[in-house]
């Protein structure tokens, strides 16, 4: 490791000006989960942004706003997060790694690292979360789903992610994960959400699978199949079969594509059933 300086950034401006001054030889550090396990050899300066006032969770203008350096365990324990969608996101956090790692890892770090096998991107894409970041003097924003279609790693080499915003939803979400044991990374994961209209038909659906082994992707055809339908047992099965056909799956060292193809309908059906039970429970 060739680190020569460690900086405690007092605010985003200082972090950005240090990042610029290092001309590619500086790295933004939050929880440090990835940097500590392997850093590019050219990195000379670490810029710690956990001192930059980017932690915290609050509601503002209808969005649940989570500061980028808020740890996953802080997210899990937050009253605001527990009250959001029946604690859906808090439940997702409980599936992520183990307590000591959740006390270190940050929500922003999970978004920026965007490991394809991670649980956080799957949940945030399903929720339609928006990322906000600073590049120079500019504040930029994009839905996380869209961000992942851009060269986001290049963006975050010269930017600082500041906040994640979660919209309000009238409905319910559920998360499913298959892993070798509790605390392990996903072999595959899935997040589904449903909302009903006044007549009891599905007003909107969100169906996302991740760790396929590719990063979280929405299954638009499954969402379209569900919209306008009346919740019923056969519908979840139909959606699950559609998901099986639509999902992009592949091989990696953890699981073969055939296994993932076979598991996609199982977890999609489970997540849809749980979301439907939760949303219909709300209606009663």
């Amino acid at each position: 490791m060739s680190v020569r300086r460690y900086h405690y950034a007092r605010d985003v401006e200082e972090a950005l000006s240090l990042l610029e001054a290092y001309e590619g030889r500086g790295a933004i550090l939050a929880g440090g989960m990835d940097l500590s396990r392997g850093m590019a050899p050219e990195i000379e300066g670490l810029i710690d942004i956990t001192t930059a006032g980017l932690s915290g969770i609050s509601w503002a203008n209808g969005d649940l706003r989570i500061g980028a350096t808020t740890t996953l365990e802080e997210v899990r324990l937050s009253d605001e997060v527990r009250g959001y969608l029946g604690g859906f996101l808090a439940e997702v956090m409980a599936h992520v790694a183990t307590l000591p790692l959740r006390c270190m890892a940050t929500l922003g770090g999970a978004v920026v690292s965007a490991h394809p096998w991670a649980d956080v991107p799957t949940a945030l894409v399903a929720l339609g979360a928006e990322a906000r970041w600073r590049t120079g003097e500019k504040t930029e924003k994009a839905p996380i789903e869209e961000l992942y279609r851009r060269p986001f790693r290049a963006i975050f080499r010269r930017s600082v992610l500041t906040e994640i915003r979660l919209p309000r939803w009238e409905g319910a979400f559920a998360f499913e994960k298959v892993s070798r044991n509790a605390g392990d990374i996903a072999l595959i994961n899935c997040a589904c959400g449903l909302g009903l209209d006044d007549t009891g038909k599905i007003a909107w659906a969100r169906v996302v699978v991740g760790a396929t082994p590719y990063r979280a992707e929405r299954l638009a055809a499954v969402e379209a199949l569900l919209a306008g339908e009346t919740p019923a047992e056969g519908l979840w099965e139909e959606a699950a079969r559609k998901a099986e056909a639509e999902a992009r799956v592949g091989d990696d060292m953890r699981a073969p594509a055939e296994w993932r193809r076979a598991v996609v309908p199982v977890i999609v059906r489970r997540a849809l059933e749980r979301a439907a039970n939760a949303v219909m429970g709300d209606e009663r």
Binding site: M1, S36, L99
Partner: protein
Amino acid sequence: MMKIYFELNGEPRYVEIKPGEMLLDLLRRLGMRSVKEGCRTGECGACTVLLDGKPIRSCLTFAAKVKGHRITTLEGLGTPEDLHPLQEAFLETGAIQCGFCTPGMILVAHHLLSHNPDPSPEEVRGAITGNLCRCTGYVKIVDAVMLAAERKRKGEWR
């Protein structure tokens, strides 16, 4: 090199560190031999310490991060002459074989019991999920934490 101030097991420390040094290496350098190097990837839990009372992996934590914070290692809980009740429970139930995982196990158990003095065995298993033991099969470790919890509830320790 850089200098940082932090609190180690209740004692103020002012130490010189390398900017890229990991907390595990700093603590071992300061004589905290309970902090074990296992996997160095955050998987095994042998290097667990408490940062402001919360468990973290010292192998993945840059030493510079603890500036101004409180670090607790097993040395801060008990000594050979004055064992912590969790250490006593581990001894009594036979939860220690090689002992390499024990400091990390005790620290996460300490964190659990400080928040939940009446855990179920399932909750204890959940708390130690990130700490690997290759000797005991975990049954006696869970027994030890349950015994320490029972004694805590009886007011034998706080």
